[in-house]
């Protein structure tokens, strides 16, 4: 039996149920790399050029971690999953970056998916995968059709407030009693849910009695509400979700009490999107924090900033006297001016 390694990185957080069903139905054994840890991060950092963003470094680490354990590592080349929108230039080049990085790399299973040019590209991707694995046409098509439904099955669990990891693997989280706040954590899923890259941000918030909402836990129609009124349609699938969710929360203030955007240093998409969101949040005086992390981030700094943010949001709702304790008046509600 062919064993296929799936790196627990990047688009794993979106498409894993589908990939797993497809590969197991084809008669492959799926091996998942462990959650990101210090060793994987170091492996990846050493194997890449400095300029690459931390999530891609982590992905390299996961590929290298799987290298000796499996026959193939699954690194699809996802160019686009919808018309007129792309994933991200770095992810589009990922399989080639892995192949030509100069390290000893395992065999890759990397079908090309480019739906910006029509749905036929799926057929090509399937035949590519089929030839690599030596399977015939019908089992491949069957496995593909069966795998299509898998993501909808976990959707229900995501909407109930579980993270993708919890939704995929059936672990549940017990809500701390006495929750008074709800904070949106937005960002690319591979940053937000990765235990090392996010420095367990979601865990930390939940432990402090804060309910967490992410873009993955929002139904599509709410994200579309947020995206309405943009002067130009976004051409990045991942950013559509982040900006759509963010603008939705800004437009409907009672939904959450604050927004935290988590991105990695050097991320091209977030450099524009987070700023766009910040400008909108500032105009409506909505609590907003932008955390930028990389492979060197220290957890203590993040803990302090998150605590300060929670205090600030609490202060706004509990004793909003708007009188500064020191110096000049910092904030004046628009209604009194």
């Amino acid at each position: 039996m062919v064993t296929i390694g799936v790196p627990r990185a990047l688009l794993y957080y979106i498409y894993f149920p589908m990939w797993q069903r497809f590969l197991t139905d084809l008669g492959c054994k799926v091996v998942l790399s462990p959650p990101t840890n210090e060793r994987i991060l170091n492996l990846g950092t050493q194997a890449t050029v400095d300029e690459v963003c931390a999530p891609v470094k982590v992905a390299f680490g996961h590929v290298l971690d799987l290298a000796d354990k499996v026959d193939y590592v699954f690194v699809p080349r996802l160019v686009s999953v919808e018309p007129r929108a792309y994933i991200c230039p770095k992810l589009m080049g990922l399989p080639d970056m892995v192949k030509h990085s100069g390290n000893k790399m395992p065999e890759l299973l990397s079908p090309d998916v480019d739906l910006s040019r029509g749905k036929m590209s799926i057929a090509r991707a399937l035949s590519e995968a089929r030839h690599t694995l030596g399977k015939s046409v019908w089992p491949t098509l069957r496995a593909f059709y069966l795998s299509l439904g898998e993501n909808h099955k976990v959707e229900q669990r995501l909407m109930s407030g579980l993270t993708p990891e919890e939704a995929f693997h059936g672990t549940a989280w017990r809500r701390t009693p006495g929750v008074r706040m709800k904070v949106a954590v937005l960002g690319h899923p591979y940053n937000v849910y990765d235990p090392v890259l996010s420095m367990s941000l979601i865990e930390q918030l939940r432990r402090s009695g804060v309910d967490v909402v992410t873009a993955e836990m929002l139904p599509q129609h709410k994200i579309d509400v947020g995206l309405q009124g943009l002067s130009k349609e976004l051409f990045w699938t991942l950013s559509k979700k982040v900006l759509g969710a963010g603008l939705y929360f800004v437009k409907t203030p009672r939904e959450v009490d604050g927004i935290i955007v988590l991105s990695s240093f050097g991320c091209g998409l977030e450099s524009l999107i987070a700023d766009l969101l910040e400008r909108n949040a500032r105009r409506s005086e909505f609590p907003f924090m932008h955390l930028i992390g990389d492979e060197h981030s220290g957890e203590a700094g993040v803990v302090t900033r998150v605590e300060a943010f929670i205090d600030m949001v609490k202060g706004r709702s509990e004793h909003a006297s708007n009188i500064s304790s020191h110096g000049n008046l910092q904030h004046r509600p628009t209604s009194t001016t």
């Binding site: 890449t48 050029v49 300029e51 690459v52 080349r77 160019v79 007129r84 929108a85 792309y86 994933i87 991200c88 230039p89 770095k90 589009m92 080049g93 399989p95 080639d96 970056m97 030509h100 990085s101 100069g102 090309d112 480019d114 943009l230 002067s231 130009k232 976004l234 051409f235 990045w236 240093f265 050097g266 991320c267 091209g268 998409l269 977030e270 450099s271 524009l272 987070a274 700023d275 766009l276 400008r279 930028i292």
Partner: protein, 367 residues
């Protein structure tokens, strides 16, 4: 309407001629200086790439001179340039500047869409007149590119240090200011004559290919004139991208440019399967083509955090190894210093000379 535009090397000279010929009131942004970069960096997002910051600096300085409309290009991704204008509009708005942004987007449907978009700029000119004005701007841009390309080669062998720089300054002063075909022909002929009579040394200099992100290649104020620096060190510079090439490939029905693009793509194929936005694929393709042509070294130039070029940068070491060809990556942002750049270029050139000396057994004598 007082229009302005962002700087981008010779592109802005052609664009200025175009707008002035249309009869518009043009306020060109002041030349890029350290102040432009400082203003741009202050009001832009921290992690955005350098062209964005320079654009913002240009807009603000032009607005101080009275401009009220910015002409900017759009795009359809995945490079972030396509979304520049949207955020730039918000930044100008938040700064309280009364500047209107006119974004030229590639048409999604009918080609006539373009005409509707451009109609405020046409300024009442007929279609034929507008076409002629566009053609003039294209000829102007092309002759500037031609002169620059020639000088990049000749600077390595000029007898009088600085002669090529002087010709280039003359070109900008004369050819760059022409507004009619007749003027353009005459001043271009004059420049051609100056180039032909330029005293040169008879020797074969080392050749370096330059690849990378288009803005950083085209705008000399931002790339710290590294091509001239290389030329002064006696290096013949071959740049992979000129504005006219880009226009040929994307805006004109020019079969030769399309064929060339296919050739570049095919050369890149063993290393990079498909496009990654921006000029990432072209960087790889041109590097392979240069390597096959027997170039001595390659320099890749990119702004910090440029996504497509980072993909290319990750793959270039493999090309360097496969063809046994030195490749250096220069990453620039608003903090880049001239001395650091000069040192790195000198070290790279020294290394190329040493390699040549080892290969031929003849030691290099400094210019």
């Amino acid at each position: 309407m007082r229009v302005t535009f962002p700087h981008m090397g010779t592109c802005s000279i052609a664009l200025q001629a175009l707008l002035e010929n249309l009869g518009l009131d043009v306020v060109p942004p002041p030349p890029i200086t350290g102040k432009t970069l400082a203003i741009g960096a202050q009001y832009s997002p921290e992690c955005v790439c350098l062209p964005f910051k320079v654009n913002i600096g240009n807009y603000i300085e032009a607005a101080e001179n009275g401009a009220d409309t910015v002409i900017m290009a759009g795009g359809i991704g995945p490079c972030r340039f396509g979304y520049y204008a949207e955020l730039q509009r918000e930044i100008l708005q938040d700064l309280g500047l009364n500047v209107n942004m006119l974004v030229l987007e590639p048409p999604l449907g009918m080609i006539t869409e373009i005409w509707h978009k451009l109609s405020p700029l046409a300024n009442g000119n007929s279609f034929a007149k507008v076409a002629e004005i566009f053609y003039f701007a294209w000829r102007l841009g092309k002759s500037l590119d031609h002169v620059e390309q020639t000088l990049n080669r000749l600077r390595a062998v000029e007898m009088l240090p600085g002669a090529c720089d002087r010709i280039w300054n003359d070109t900008l002063r004369t050819v760059g200011k022409t507004r009619t075909f007749r003027e353009l022909r005459e001043s271009a002929q004059h420049i051609d004559w100056m180039i032909k009579t330029l005293p040169i040394r008879q020797q074969k200099p080392l050749k370096v290919g330059v690849v990378g992100e288009i803005y950083m290649l085209l705008e000399p104020k931002v790339n710290l004139e590294f091509e001239k620096r290389l030329g002064r060190m006696g290096i013949e510079v071959h740049r992979s991208l000129y504005l006219s090439d880009w226009v040929c490939e994307h805006l004109l029905p020019e079969p030769r440019a399309k064929l060339h693009a296919r050739k570049v793509k095919r050369a890149a194929a063993p290393y990079l399967r498909g496009h990654v936005g921006g000029h990432g694929l072209e960087t790889i393709g041109h590097s392979v083509l240069y390597a096959n042509e027997g170039i001595d070294g390659i320099i890749q130039v990119l702004p910090l955090t440029c996504m497509p070029e980072i993909v290319a940068q990750s793959i270039l070491p493999r090309i360097s190894k496969d063809f046994s060809l030195p490749i250096m990556t220069l990453i620039l942002d608003e903090h880049s210093g001239e001395a650091g750049l000069q040192t790195r270029l000198e070290a790279f050139v020294d290394m190329l000379h040493t390699r040549q000396a080892i290969a031929t057994g003849v030691e290099h004598r400094a210019k």
